[in-house]
């Protein structure tokens, strides 16, 4: 039945049979099972993960297989030209671990490497489009490290990667979502012939229902499956990557690739109403500030304030303002900057911040004058859990949709434009330095129940909105007792330390009006707006011994379960 649903979903999504702003198949994306759950941005990739679990693989095997498959099936949002974070706690592990495979600045990178125009922006978008935007990719190193270290060893690397290879070769349908993304990025895609050849019909975007076949990527993945990490970071493929990036104006070298290192990090952790929150530390800002926001909220009776009420959204607004003010000031790659993690995630600090919230009116911008800048909402996230309580969440990206636009000719993958996540001028904790990882918002997160047992995995794309999306889903489940799918689908809201308060279109009109009456300046977004991320989550109900998966209609998200 689930396979029939998958087929129907794919047809609907491909045909784009949807009203404007309402995703297709709104209510059929979640799933439940007794053995295992995989939630990801594509039904095909979720099915890949479940098939791996069925074959005896563990949650890491499934997550890595799904991740490689997403790089094929959702190439706009992640792939082997990018990077990300894994958070893993297998049932036999005392503590969770974060595998940081974030991209890093090339050795020749400098704080002032990008000329800045009179408007304060980088000239010619050199940190967004083209080779100079590319940082050293970590995707292959990170995923293979996860597999080698935490995989079941019952499946080989080739077996784990084979589904992704198959999808690259046989092709997959273009959904309305992907067609729109190609349209939005067409100017960038058309700059690079190899990219345009794959994702356009003679320069016009592929349309819903078209098929993308990427045999070049299939061959590249097959080579990696055979040769491992060195097949990508050394030798012929490394030469080809460097050639493609340098031909497009970049400074990446073979030494950069050969010296790329995965970093193993201790997660940041906190608690929320008795539940333990375990999340991603720097080089991501996400985990620190998800925990900080939840710490602040804990000072308010959020269950009593209600879900989606003016009072609740007001508390969220003020909480987000303070968290983002701190993020702007303090958070960076801890290999290069000192970040007061303990202080930022402490209950005492949160309690002090909570006293600044006036329930009658919003506070003034916490950091006046901080420029709001457009940030890319791309990236992808997946969650895997099984009945043993093994938990994995991966969030990975090539930064903007279709990254730098630069495809390695004949290899089928696009290079990231992660350099855009640095501050392009000297003088900031997040300025460019050789080997440094740019600040991320990616927040794959694990939640343990008050007894310390596996409860939930959650993650999202969406740049800075990731922090809000992840925290809101956690609160929706814990405070408002929503099912995981309800929690994912609930209307979202987001703001930074200054600027408008963005509300998703489905927030109650009464709440919107009440917030405006209090003095909030509201920016109303679409009803199912991908601006607010694309959460994919899994939850284990230990009492009923059932796993539940939640998938986001704001992407092509889908849960597979068995």
């Amino acid at each position: 039945m689930k396979r029939i649903s998958l087929t129907v979903f794919s047809i609907l999504a491909a045909a784009g049979i949807a009203c404007a702003q309402t995703p297709a198949n709104l209510y059929g994306r979640d799933g439940q099972g007794k053995q295992g759950i995989v939630a990801s941005a594509k039904p095909e990739s979720s099915q890949v993960g479940i098939d791996i679990l069925r074959r005896g693989g563990n949650a890491i095997d499934a997550a890595v297989a799904t991740a490689f498959a997403l790089g094929v099936l959702e190439p706009n949002a992640s792939g082997i030209g990018g990077g990300g974070f894994v958070i893993v706690k297998l049932a036999n592990m005392k503590d969770a671990v974060v595998i940081d495979f974030r991209e890093s600045a090339p050795a020749a990178a400098k704080a002032d490497m990008y000329p800045i125009g009179d408007d304060g922006k980088v000239k010619n978008m050199a940190n967004v489009v083209g080779g100079l935007a590319t940082a050293v990719p970590g995707d292959v190193a990170g995923l293979l490290y996860a597999l080698d270290t935490y995989g079941s060893k019952k499946l080989t690397r080739a077996q784990v990667m084979q589904p992704a290879i198959d999808w690259a070769r046989k092709g997959y349908p273009v959904t309305a979502n992907l067609s729109k993304i190609i349209t939005d990025e067409l100017a960038k895609i058309n700059k690079f012939p190899a990219t345009a050849k794959l994702y356009t019909n003679d320069g016009l975007p592929l349309e819903a229902g078209d098929t993308v076949k990427n045999p070049d990527l299939g061959a590249t993945l097959e080579m990696i499956a055979k040769k491992g990490k060195d097949g990508f970071y050394k030798g012929d493929m490394a030469k080809r990557i460097v050639s493609a990036v340098q031909d497009a104006g970049g400074i990446l070298t073979e030494e950069d690739l050969a010296h790329y290192q995965v970093k193993i990090r201790q997660p940041v952790s906190g608690t929320y109403r008795g539940y333990k929150i375990i999340s991603t530390p720097p080089a991501s800002s996400g985990g620190i500030h998800v925990i900080q926001m939840l710490n602040i909220l804990e000072n308010f009776d959020m269950p009593k304030l209600g879900d989606g009420t003016p009072a609740a959204l007001h508390v969220w607004s003020e909480t987000m303002k303070m968290a983002f003010a701190d993020r702007a000031k303090y958070t960076a790659d801890t290999d290069f900057a000192k970040v007061p993690i303990e202080g930022l995630t402490s209950k005492a600090y949160a309690k002090e911040l909570a006293t600044h919230i006036d329930m009658k009116k919003p506070m003034a911008s916490v950091l006046a004058g901080d420029p709001s800048r457009y940030e890319s909402g791309s990236t992808t996230s997946l969650s895997v859990m099984d009945k043993q309580g093994n938990m994995v969440a991966i969030t990975k990206t090539i930064n903007h949709f279709f990254g730098s636009g630069v495809m390695v000719p004949g290899a089928g993958f696009i290079m990231n434009n992660e350099m855009d996540d640095f501050v392009p001028q000297p003088g900031s904790a997040n300025s460019i330095e050789p080997g440094k990882r740019p600040l991320s918002s990616m927040s794959p997160t694990l939640v343990l129940d008050p007894e310390g047992k596996a409860f939930m995995t959650v993650g999202s794309p969406g740049a800075t909105r990731i922090l809000g999306a992840v925290a809101e889903v956690i609160s929706n489940v814990i405070d408002h007792k929503m099912s995981i799918q309800q929690a994912v689908m609930a209307p979202r809201f987001f703001r930074m330390q200054s600027g408008d308060y963005s509300l998703e279109g489905r927030v109650s009109i009464n709440t919107k009006n009440a917030l405006e009456a209090m003095g909030h300046k509201i920016a109303l977004k679409g009803d199912w707006d991908p601006f607010f991320g694309g959460v994919h989550a899994a939850l284990l109900d230990r009492n009923r011994k059932i796993l539940f998966g939640g998938a986001d209609p704001r992407r092509d998200g889908f849960v597979a379960a068995y």
Binding site: A176, T183, A187, D202, G203, L204
Partner: protein
Amino acid sequence: MNHLSIAFCTLSFAFASVSAQTLNLKAPIADKPVLLTSSGQSADIEMVKVLLDRAKLPYKLDAKIAAPALAGTGAKTVLLVLGASSKGLGAAGISAQGEIERTNLLIAEAKKQGMKIIGLHIGGKSRRGEMSDKFLTDAVPACDYVIVVGEANDDGLFSKLTGSKVTLDTVEKISKLGDPISKAFK
């Protein structure tokens, strides 16, 4: 499904296909070269650029051109790509209201210069909505010819705005846009 039904559906589809290709524009109205610009800063302008390249129509692309600069382009026709994108407006550093004002001033200057204005709405239903529609109210009636792709006119808004004064054509897909665009030019 019986054979008669299949035959009926096939004939209906064929008739509909033929009908979709019959244009309301009966004769060319516009001169070259073209100034290609945006009203709403959506990414759709890139698709029109591809179509103009295919049709080998000479054009200058300036998505944010201001009215005073119009005379200096040497263009005889303005091709206005209609439809808003908050991402595009943000990247361009312009507010929605500012973009509407820019469009209105541009249209006024084009008319003063004796230029023809062709409006294109190619983003389909997803390029309609509260924000995008604000860009249509003043601009569409001011055009000399409007082409709409897909189902964007399902609610009749374009028909209402063009009325009997502005020729309106609809094409099924973006890839079919090349024909009416080419035929609009002398």
